[in-house]
Symmetry: C2
Subunit: 794 residues, 2 copies
């Protein structure tokens, strides 16, 4: 029913009903498109804020990308209706809106292309979508083939949703000169000051076919008639009515009438997207369909090829072959792609949350370290002279802090050393720390080193008399906006995280020759860990925080929200938890938070408002932060497990982030293993029916942290100033693994194998043993072979 | 196909496809519901801003009520699926979502009730909706009758859309204790400061049936299955699956299984609406279905009755019988109801635009003058000490100026005398002018007289060196936000309107014994009219304004926006236009603005942006202000025509505001004549296909102005200090009319008739001739008979 394609380039699903919400996504430098297996689609492009050219049937709220979006009959989509002109029979590809079960069905999600192959009653229909590299537009191919033994007379109706473009002004018509459908709108505004912003918007939606159609319809209501979108009345006619839309909801439907001999096929190409004006559309048409180069390729083909190259540039820095083929497929093909998406698009926002921006670029350190470097400098240039990091990083001169970025959170500083360390591990580019960067306001400047120092000092200052960090209106990933808004409540997690950040920064200081600073931060970390153990250890695990009113929460006395994952995972990283505490908290996590679909964020989920905790308790139980298997937080727990050598727990939980391999698990999650979602529905012990369900939201800091778990933890192939430190933590039941690691310009082929008689890991580089397991003097362009002999585990 | 019911209490439509957007609306003191003939529904309630309990399937934008809203398959609705348990056949009432054509169909819009009667294959299904007077909830009755000669086994599935309640938290379940469906959500918020606002919201949606159902479904996706909303898979089962919704889109569907003998029927009642918590729902259930009074009526029945009385209180102040029965029906039944709606609900906003608030309460002067009086005082209490009126009137302590009320408009002051004059005419309550009212800020106070005086002085001051009124970012009903934002552009209409306002105020001053002030304002009006004629007369009509750059627009040299109705109509009122100018401008209006569906706002509609004019040019041609038959503006033109005795042009145009009587006209407009919409689509000469189509938006200042045209103009039954001035302007082709006028507590029965030999109107009160046509000394409780003899017109 579902599997990687033979060439591993696609992940394939053979039914539109098995995982009705299965999807893939594509992006380029100006847009993102999320494509559902049944034909539903969400596309957004930047101008500079996210905008749409294919709209819902009503006036939609503008909002950030949301998880678990419902589909409904008129949800925007890209469909092809097919009518047998002799029998009048109608079906649609890929499945919506007619919902005729296909004889054969494949939904294939590729890295630079999404495609369908469907067969109905002797007709094969192929659809595929890719993007150009830069411009916001969709490149579609549709192929129809007669598989039946008789000649077939067909009408093919490609259908592209335009939808309710604007309440102010919308229309659509077939433009004879362009032989294209052009729909027009005006973005509503009310203050004249906003006019300058909207006047250059791409407010038109176009559909350019590669050849003229026999007929068309641009009026949604006229197209549907009383038949509705499932059985449009317009298909009863020999030809479409060539209608227009005048303040009516537009649609872009074309009709092609063909007669196909047995085995004969016909192929079409279409471009669908937004444009400023007809002139731009004419330019696109000329550029893509206007002529071919010496090689016989037109602009459309060249754009497809350029996009494919662009996406391939975003490969990861390792290729793995392990006893777990699904993990291999996910890590070799999909995980780097998801990191690359984050790094390239900044989640289609002009003001990414600071912590997201830093972590997304931590991931980019593995793919395009230069991009990561620039991003860190951008972020630091917006740091306050006090050391405080803003809630969001402004990436566009017209951007402003929106949504949650208007709510003060106190954790942004901790991410600086944590994310920088990966960049430094991967590149050894410690010169970054010497870069001079201004502070916000432009009055002061300082080195990156000083910037991070100020951030660490800010964290030390922003504490109560006990030494616990204030939470204000929230910190990372469970923004409890009413714990500390009065200025007294503190965050257990954040306090622990500062201890970890201090230790990480101490390591960096030491490696930069700043031994004094290193010592200072080590002591600060130690002192913080002591405070943590004094005020937050609840006997079996760490508490989540203390409210303005002095109530400790996330503790055994709580009926709901009794245990949170974040303080537990980070206490492994910070060193707060000694051996005994580790065992206890791991046991608590296993018993209370672990589920078949991963580790939950907190448990039991809040089912009612707790006013001294706030926003997290208002979220649906098991969704988003309120008890979901929140993969980002789970990844930190796993990273913590690796940091203390708990390789089997770590692998077991890591594996639960990827749907499958068994079909039941994939069906339960409802998602193909082509990205890791921000969460799987949790509250497993409270609401088992829905637990495990994917959010289908691919915006998440999880991806780089899984990758980092693999690099630093499972395969133990982390960079260090001397070179590559090789220290694998294969799960006990793996007897071997192979990794090809791209590292500082070199290619390193590592074989790991358990051998009888080996008592401790033995590392050999090109045959020579390395006592400390560090591959030194890695030269760009060179290739190395590393053998790691591992003991069998008892 | 459509007609008033025999008792005139309903307007009936006999097809769901003839006018697919035909609708009725109901309101009470906390909500409004707009019900479409096919079952689609929009409901809003106030807490304090407009909120929903029946949502779209996606996250909808929060916005003001908009015209020409499209419907789509999953648009919120109230439906009843019916399944024949023996044949498996399914239909739905009233028409959506299954769309099986009925054998018989009636959609009946009443003043306090909307009802359907439909028959399919021997089953009659009746649905009807009313509201309680105060609470936001829907009271539904559903009756099923077996009309066939055999016993029928049926499943009846009432379906109520709940929809996408909240991205933060939503769920739904069947509450066994309440035997009701209860869906829960949390209104999203991000700043803790907003929590106090949302915590008491009615965030739950309930469906309370009058008896337990056989089964239920609360999960939209589970209900639909692959069949979709048109043919839900759940109906294939014997019983619904009793599912719940956990962060899934909820729905409220019940199943009743019945066997009906021939002729037998079964009746059900339901309550659907929002609630804070289960306790409140339990209270509603107990109150409505919990028991009966001595008369055998339960709370449900009593609420229906109370609501009907409440609506009947909102009757108008005249009943007419003329040669135009459609006009009679509209004026006697629907027009006062629409005025009452505006006066009671303030258009479901907490910050009505000042001009709307004043005009809506001008209408209320005919229905509940005490309400109007209080509203005028409220509005004046928010006037600036400078005399400027704010852009919106705040009606709730938490309200703030929203949307267009944040954009400065310069016309609000002119409406004060104009709207007050109707209140004074109707009530003779000149004591209002002596009321002391504070100014905004509370530092100063003054009499109403002084308030209006300051408003008039503000208008005199807010002018350029020529004496033309600045437009800033807009004035009334064609807010051209870029004409004058630099502080130089002026409004032709507003300058003319100030002249009219001065004259109206001069009359009021004179009647209040302020002869000096009266003279002052008469002179100001005269001077203004002279300036108007000097700078704005274009040769055949008046220009609309002059831009910041000094460009006169709305003139013959313009290709688009060549003529605007507003300056023309108001020049008749202000006295700017002498006889020759009147003839010319009326001719221009007939030639360029009059259409079969009324007078357009401007012509030709702008089809592209004109940057020195702004927002109006960005609206769709023929929609809203850009060339629509904007009834509110048209009403002023008609009022102007009556003011200069042009009774035949006036009647012809007035009549075009009401759909019908012929079917073609009603079909073209797509609306039943149960309200006057804010516009009919215009651009008749540019886009004839869509011209005439109703906006279906019943929020409009048109209603009170039609009424005032009838009172002051057509029937000439306007109040004055002495009593009732009787001066009809029947159209030439009417030979008679009867009016019963409720006036200052008296009932006055007027018969108008043309008689041979009469040369000028002769008025007789209880038989006695009245030379000046004024019925004096009108005594509350008394009844008068007036005869008006009119000449035949040559």
């Amino acid at each position: 029913m579902l599997k990687p394609s033979e060439d591993q380039e696609f992940y394939e699903l053979a039914s539109p009903t098995l995982l009705p919400k299965a999807s893939g996504f594509l992006w380029n430098e100006s847009m993102m498109i999320h494509v559902n297996c049944r034909g539903y689609t969400v596309a957004q492009f930047m101008q500079p804020e996210p905008a749409k050219y294919s709209h819902a049937p009503n006036l939609e709220a503008k909002t950030f990308m949301q998880p678990e979006q419902p589909y409904y009959a008129h949800h925007p989509g890209r469909f092809v209706y097919v009518k047998d002109e002799e029998t009048g029979e109608i079906f649609s590809a890929p499945y919506e809106p007619v919902r005729v079960p296909a004889d054969q069905y494949t939904f294939a999600v590729g890295k630079s292309r999404v495609a369908w192959k469907v067969e109905f009653g002797g007709i094969a229909l192929e659809m595929s979508l890719t993007l150009p590299k830069e411009e916001p537009m969709e490149l579609w191919r549709i192929r129809v083939k007669n598989l039946s033994p008789a000649k077939r007379k067909l009408s093919i109706y490609p259908y592209f949703t335009v939808g309710y473009m604007s309440w102010m002004n919308q229309s659509g018509e077939y433009n004879e000169a362009l032989q294209s459908i052009v729909c027009s709108s005006v973005t509503p505004y009310q203050k004249y000051q906003d006019y300058d912003k909207i006047k250059h918007f791409r407010d038109k939606t176009f559909l350019i076919p590669d050849r003229p159609a026999a007929s068309w319809e641009v009026n949604q209501e006229a197209f549907e008639g009383e038949g509705g979108i499932m059985r449009p009345s317009a298909l009863d006619r020999e030809e479409l009515a060539r209608g227009d839309a005048r303040y009516e909801t537009p649609v872009a439907v074309l009709q092609y009438r063909i007669a196909l001999e047995p085995g004969q096929e016909e192929a079409y190409r279409f471009i669908f997207g937004p444009a400023r004006d007809e002139e731009q559309i004419a330019g696109i048409k000329a550029g893509y369909f206007g002529g071919t180069n010496a090689g016989g390729d037109d602009g459309f083909v060249l754009a497809e090829r350029e996009y494919d190259s662009y996406i391939r540039e975003g490969g990861g820095c390792m290729e793995i072959a392990t006893p777990d083929p699904e993990l291999d497929n996910f890590v070799n093909h999909w995980l780097p792609r998801q990191m690359y998406y984050h790094g390239q698009t900044n989640r289609l926002t002009t003001d990414p949350q600071t912590r997201n921006y830093l972590q997304d670029n931590m991931g980019m350190s593995y793919i395009k370290p230069q991009t990561a470097r620039e991003a860190f400098l951008t972020a630091l240039s917006q740091q306050e002279p006090s050391g405080a990091m803003p809630d969001g990083i402004i990436l566009h001169p017209e951007a402003e802090l929106k949504y949650i970025n208007q709510v003060p959170h106190t954790d942004h500083c901790v991410w600086l050393p944590i994310c920088l360390s990966t960049y430094l591990d991967e590149t050894n580019d410690y010169s970054l720390l010497e870069e001079q960067v201004p502070y916000a306001g432009g009055q002061e400047a300082g080195s990156v080193f000083e910037h991070v120092h100020r951030a660490m000092q800010w964290l030390i200052r922003d504490r109560d008399e006990r030494g616990l960090n204030y939470i204000n209106q929230g910190d990372w990933c469970d923004p409890m906006n009413m714990v500390g808004y009065q200025g007294k409540g503190v965050s257990g997690w954040l306090t622990i995280a500062t201890a970890y950040a201090f230790n990480v920064w101490a390591d960096i200081c030491e490696r930069s020759g700043q031994a004094g600073a290193a010592e200072e931060y080590r002591l600060a970390a130690q002192a913080t860990n002591e405070v943590v153990n004094e005020y937050l250890w609840d006997g079996e695990w760490y508490a989540r925080g203390i409210t303005d009113a002095g109530v400790v929460f996330g503790v055994s006395a709580d009926r709901e929200g009794r245990i949170f994952i974040n303080p537990q995972g980070w206490s492994l990283l910070s060193g707060a938890a000694d051996g005994e505490k580790r065992e206890k908290l791991m046991q608590a996590v296993r018993e209370q938070l672990e589920t078949p679909y991963g580790v939950e964020k907190l448990a039991p989920s809040y089912t009612a408002m707790r006013e001294d905790v706030g926003r997290v308790t208002q979220k649906h139980p098991g969704s988003a932060e309120n008890g979901a298997v929140y993969n980002h937080a789970a990844a930190f727990y796993i990273y913590g497990l690796y940091s203390v050598g708990e390789k089997d727990d770590a692998y077991r939980l890591l594996r639960k982030m990827i749907p499958g391999p068994d079909l039941d698990d994939i069906v339960r999650r409802g998602q193909l293993p082509v990205f890791v979602p921000n969460y799987y529905r949790g509250a497993y012990r409270q609401f088992p029916r829905t637990a495990g369900r994917s959010s289908h939201l691919f915006n998440t800091g999880t991806a780089p942290w899984i990758y980092r778990c693999l690099i630093d933890g499972l395969f133990g192939l982390q960079g260090c100033p001397e070179g590559l430190r090789i220290r694998p933590q294969l799960p006990s039941h793996w007897n071997e693994a192979k990794v090809t690691r791209d590292f500082r310009g070199a290619k390193i082929r590592i074989e790991m194998t358990r051998e009888a008689g080996v008592r401790e890991a033995e590392v050999y580089a090109d045959g020579a043993p390395m006592a400390d397991g560090i591959l030194r003097d890695v030269r760009p362009g060179a290739e190395y072979r590393v053998l790691v002999k591992l003991p069998f585990v008892n």
